[in-house]
Symmetry: C2
Subunit: 268 residues, 2 copies
Amino acid sequence: MDRVYVHGYDTRENRRLRDQANTLVELLHSDTSYRAGSRVLEAGCGVGAQTVTLAGNSPNATFTSIDISEDSIADAKKAVEFAGLSNVQFLQADIFDLNFEPESFDHVFVCHVLEHLSRPDKALAILKRLIKVGGTITVIEGDHGSTYFYPDSEPAHTAIQCLVELQKRAGGNALIGRELYPLLRKAGFNSIHVSPRMVYVDSSKRDLVEGFTKNTFTAMIEGIRDTAIKAGMVDQIVFDKGIQDLYRTTEADGVFCYSFFKAFAAKS
Amino acid sequence: MDRVYVHGYDTRENRRLRDQANTLVELLHSDTSYRAGSRVLEAGCGVGAQTVTLAGNSPNATFTSIDISEDSIADAKKAVEFAGLSNVQFLQADIFDLNFEPESFDHVFVCHVLEHLSRPDKALAILKRLIKVGGTITVIEGDHGSTYFYPDSEPAHTAIQCLVELQKRAGGNALIGRELYPLLRKAGFNSIHVSPRMVYVDSSKRDLVEGFTKNTFTAMIEGIRDTAIKAGMVDQIVFDKGIQDLYRTTEADGVFCYSFFKAFAAKS
């Protein structure tokens, strides 16, 4: 289930995921670390973009990082080895078909994964069973509907909407960030605390202009160009103008805004 | 100029402005205080919703708070007297027709004002002339285009868009928050630093559910109902459904997001 990964698996996409991770590490991950001896399940590690930070921040916890894609696991393994970390064990596995005993983990960590699943509620229920009583879950997701910018541009919103629609057709939800609170509530978690992590970019923030607006967000939208046009979702001229207008927001007087959401909840 | 205040001046509106100020004081104002002896111009004080916080946080600075509306000034005076503050002088005046000498102030403070002006760039240029070299300006504005929520609702977006459109027709710009960086840049300020102040509301945040989503934001949209319907902008049924859906976001599984922007810049 959910095997169509909307962003694809090519090399540029992998570089995009690493750029994103580097730029956003502080914003998204600086407040996540686990106690010595903790057993942590990272569900959906992808190419290891977050794994390196996660395991590096908690050198005395042990991580089991799973992903549905064998190729991504191979990349993630390399990234973790390159970082000199030895506290991560990798496993190719489907979140919806796991072989762990109930209450096998102290903590579960899920980042940029639920957006791609047709049953995020079911995934959370499955993951909850794997957490010990008193344990926690951390979930991080973006929300493409949180995107706005200056100068404003209708074609840019149209191009973004193509990704939202493609993700929907693949069974996912690109607007899931805002929904973390109700999803965790529905799954029966307690002490749910959600905090928005807004990325605000103007030209005084050179690293974010390059690392986020251009190389993460706009590259992601550009990545679905041919698929969206082929699917008849958008006129080629409109899409290309949308991309041009997204780059326009990276000029001296431009501004770009996007929000991630980070949720923390307990199993009691 | 800009004499049509889109929100009106009635008592419910005044209460709304005070509720908003109380709930958001920490988020918007906790990092603003001025040194003893500073002379500060508050341009557009309205009913004094911010003035009380501003003057209270800097008891040894002196404030000159101006507004175009004599009635608002009267309310602001009462609010400041009620708070027992004596460091504020009020003056009815138009930002575009001021009688102060150049470089009369150490600092200028502008909050929820530029959104109502047809020439915010000109207003900033005028205000800049009043600041001493080495002085600063602080600007706070909302951005209605930053509004999103769960459950999502097309009618709710339509109702919000009516306010954006009404404000535009009155010469203002309800999407100005994202634009503070370019506006201050254009006015020739230096060391511009903009920080977003996102209000994230889920049902675990009771004070914000009441104080912000219901009594501030939704009340503001409800306040333009008759005007928007009379102007033929929206069908009555759609508008009312939009309001209903905004209230729906305040239920146990609802989420509401809105962003203000706070800018700080220097005159060098």
